[in-house]
């Protein structure tokens, strides 16, 4: 009964408060806009990190295995000889399809292609793949034109790279290493890493780049459990010294630096800006309490408790914060979700194209953050409202 009466009191006082918001709309609006700004910024920055991670890791395949030289830091500085490639192809656990063993000996270099938006130079990855290169990955398909033919200077371009960089449409040509390369098709890897790359035939690239061997091997496992068999066999073989990784793990490690950077910045800016917005809320709520001093005092004189008055101020503050949080989240979603960009991943020294991902967890997190700001912004004004000496308060104008 007591509890119910308490809730009824809170509801009554809050209703009075909320109804007077229009009279103080400027300062309430400032509090709402402040919190909306915080949520917009935090969600926007974190959606960059989420999108990058999605392209690099979530869209990779744990059954696709990346094999590099043990001392290398990535694909670009790895070297594999033909003999090492033969050892890999004979290892257990590798799947077959109608066209044979799912193994692809690959090259990985970058070529300088201007960016569409700024014309600035960009290290776009150029990958040599063998006949089984598409099947090894499982989710890559040609969506426009046709695949390159073995031995010819033809390339296919990932769909994001084709949007982000100039001259990568079907029929365009480029001169690399004194030979002309023509774009014959566009590939789609469902938002994964190949969407950022240009692919050519390994053999054609070997002759143009003057290489006899490979840089990296990709194989497809018979099933996900076959990883241990393959990894153990290759790591105990004295003829080779290799690193065997699932593609998901390989790219997770190579997206670490950029993700940490973006996330650190996101939270740092969000935290500081949150404090600023909280001051805005504090001020708004003090104002709200001050302008209703007489009303609050009257209620208290009528027998309303201190706690309902305190809670009602908190509820009002959190309501404003909730509106701000939702506005900021929706704005971030409208403006940034699906926005495609390309940036350099310094860990691979090559461009990665990806789309911002304003994910549900980010929106929920942003709203919770807004509510926390509203709660803290309301605490001190709420305490003041409850502590006001009645006689003084009633005399206020």
């Amino acid at each position: 009964m007591v509890l119910f009466a308490g809730i009824a009191q809170v509801a009554a006082v809050t209703a009075v408060n909320v109804r007077t918001i229009p009279q103080r709309w400027v300062s309430s609006l400032v509090a709402v806009v402040g919190i909306a700004g915080v949520v917009l910024v935090v969600v926007a920055v974190l959606s960059i990190g989420a999108g990058f991670k999605q392209a690099m890791v979530s869209r990779s395949d744990p059954s696709t295995i990346v094999i590099t030289r043990a001392s290398s830091t990535g694909e670009m500085d790895s070297v594999l000889s033909r003999d090492e490639m033969a050892v890999i192809a004979n290892a257990p656990g590798i799947a077959n399809d109608a066209n044979g063993l799912l193994v692809s000996g690959e090259l990985y270099v970058v070529v300088d292609v201007p960016r569409v938006s700024t014309g600035g130079s960009s290290n776009v990855p150029l990958r040599g793949v063998e006949a089984q290169g598409l099947a090894v990955r499982g989710n890559v398909e040609v969506i426009e034109g046709r695949l390159f033919r073995p031995g010819l200077n033809e390339v296919v371009v990932g769909k994001s790279a084709a949007n982000q960089f100039a001259g990568l449409k079907v029929g365009d040509t480029h001169t690399w290493r004194q030979s002309e390369w023509v774009v014959t098709g566009i590939i789609d890897a469902d938002g994964g890493v190949p969407d950022s790359e240009i692919w050519a035939d390994t053999g054609a690239m070997q002759s143009a780049w003057g290489r006899s061997g490979f840089q990296v091997a990709r194989v497809r496992l018979t099933d996900e459990q076959a990883f241990t068999t393959l990894s153990d066999t290759l790591s105990t073989d004295p003829r080779v010294n290799l690193t065997v990784e699932r593609e998901t793990d390989f790219y997770a490690e190579r997206s670490q630096v950029l993700s940490v950077f973006v996330t650190t910045i996101g939270w740092f800016v969000g935290a500081l800006m949150g404090i600023g917005a909280m001051f805005g809320a504090v001020n708004t709520m003090y104002n709200a309490v001050a302008s209703r001093t007489r009303e609050i005092a009257t209620l208290r004189a009528l027998g309303f408790g201190a706690i309902p008055v305190t809670v009602s101020v908190l509820v009002e503050s959190m309501l404003l914060a909730l509106v701000g949080g939702l506005l900021g989240g929706v704005a971030a979603w409208l403006v940034f979700n699906g926005f495609e960009v390309a940036t350099i991943n310094w860990q691979t020294f090559s461009q990665v194209s990806f789309t911002f991902a304003v994910t549900p967890p980010l929106l929920i997190g942003g709203t919770i953050y807004a509510l926390v700001l509203g709660l803290f912004g309301g605490i001190f004004p709420a305490i003041r409202a409850a502590r006001m000496p009645l006689t003084v308060a009633l005399r206020e104008l």
């Binding site: 400027v26 300062s27 400032v30 806009v33 402040g34 700004g37 910024v41 926007a44 920055v45 960059i48 030289r69 001392s71 290398s72 830091t73 670009m76 500085d77 790895s78 270099v109 970058v110 070529v111 300088d112 960016r115 938006s117 700024t118 600035g120 130079s121 960009s122 290290n123 982000q164 690399w176 290493r177 004194q178 630096v257 940490v260 950077f261 650190t264 910045i265 740092f268 800016v269 500081l272 800006m273 404090i275 600023g276 917005a277 001051f279 805005g280 504090v282 001020n283 003090y286 104002n287 001050a290 302008s291 960009v341 390309a342 940036t343 350099i344 310094w346 020294f349 461009q351 104008l397």
Partner: protein
């Protein structure tokens, strides 16, 4: 300034609100300083590029090497005053996570080309005399706690040794400082000859050339002339000013950089909106006080200027604190992303911009209520409450 005590008392009419306002201005400018430092970092040292230096790289991609034989042909070109080269070593110390940049260079010509590398005379001589010696930047020395005389093994996946050993050993002969704020000191320099003699392949190849020209106004002409030298060879070149080259690196970051700047603007404007509103509000609340002052004989312009000065004071205290804290955090605290950014500092022009914004904030948040105060008729104003 006999009115200072009056302004001071007005400011502390509601002490808590003034403190909160000052703090929110502080935070706005703290963020401003911090974010400009990140921006300077993302720009990758474009601000410290030499105006008379050109960079020549392979036309297809910067990772492809150029022949050492180009050196003599570049030197012989009219208008070139000096040339040196550097190469990407791509190594790490003990673990792949301990990655940092190492450049095999031609020591004497490199140091002459880059007066920004400040090295004590004795250390310079010691380095030149030791072919297996290296010099490291201050930031790198701090990162690993290395001292002059330390021996460090570096493993590189790019350059395998002719003798089959895994690591390349170096003796630290000197630690260099940046002669110009923002110059990168996170790297290590060593003798190109040491690499060239020890490596199993790639003999006679270098990464890129750094070329000094007589006349900085001739960048475009000189670049074209130099690229023409090597047209139709197996290694065609792309020459540009050092600033353009570094800008090219910054461009690699792409639209993310621009989006970042836009976000900074949103952050900053939001915070200014909040603090500006608070400041304006505190004046509005005192309308009746101001009216009393007017009836006492204060001229309207004097009242208005008192209001503006008060706003300016809050802005200056908050903004000064914020910029000061940002400078302290950036200079003493350092890069919060631990090494993603090659440079992390607040460039002087951003400091100036910051101070300008502090003054603007004071003016704008003071002018509107001051104007209202001037416009009010005393009878109305005296009647007004909150």
């Amino acid at each position: 300034m006999k009115y200072l005590p009056l302004i001071w008392h007005n400011m502390f009419r509601r002490r808590l609100r003034t403190v909160v306002t000052v703090l929110s201005v502080t935070i706005a400018f703290l963020l401003f300083g911090f974010l400009t430092a990140i921006r300077s970092g993302l720009e990758g040292g474009v601000e410290v590029a030499g105006v008379d230096r050109l960079i020549m790289v392979d036309r297809v991609a910067i990772i492809n090497p150029l022949p050492l034989s180009y050196r003599n042909r570049i030197v012989a070109t009219k208008g070139v005053s000096a040339v040196t080269h550097a190469t990407w070593f791509g190594g790490y110390y003990q673990d792949k996570r301990n990655f940092f940049a190492q450049f095999p260079v031609e020591p004497e010509s490199y140091l002459e080309m880059y007066p920004e590398v400040v090295l004590p005379q004795a250390q310079r001589a010691a380095w030149l005399a030791d072919r297996g010696g290296a010099v490291i930047g201050r930031a790198l020395a701090d990162r690993f706690g290395w001292k002059v005389g330390d021996r460090i093994p570096i493993i590189t996946p790019i350059w395998s040794r002719r003798d089959g050993q895994a690591a390349w050993d170096f003796t630290i002969r000197g630690i260099f400082d940046a002669g110009k704020e923002g110059f990168d000191t996170t790297n290590m320099l060593f003798h190109y000859e040491y690499l060239n003699e020890g490596r199993a392949f790639g003999n006679g190849l270098v990464g890129w050339y750094i070329i000094q020209i007589d006349d900085p106004d001739q960048v475009a002409t000189m670049s074209a002339a130099l690229d023409a030298l090597f047209a139709n060879s197996s290694s065609e070149t792309k020459t540009s000013s050092e600033a353009t080259f570094l800008q090219g690196f910054a461009d690699q970051v792409g639209d993310i950089g621009a989006i970042f700047t836009a976000i900074v603007a949103v952050v900053f404007l939001t915070l200014l909106l909040i603090s500006g509103n608070t400041m304006a509000q505190s004046v509005r609340e005192r309308t009746s006080d101001l009216a009393v002052m007017a009836t006492l004989g204060f001229s309207r312009w004097r009242i208005a200027s008192l209001v503006v000065i008060e706003a300016m004071l809050i802005s200056l205290i908050g903004g000064g604190l914020g910029l000061g804290l940002a400078w302290l955090a950036v200079t003493v605290g350092g890069d919060p992303t631990s090494g993603y950014l090659p440079a992390f500092f607040i460039a002087p022009q951003y400091m100036v911009l910051g101070v300008g914004l502090v003054v603007l904030l004071g003016l704008f948040s003071g002018v509107l209520p001051a104007w209202q105060a001037v416009r009010l008729r005393d009878v109305d104003a005296l009647r007004r409450t909150v």
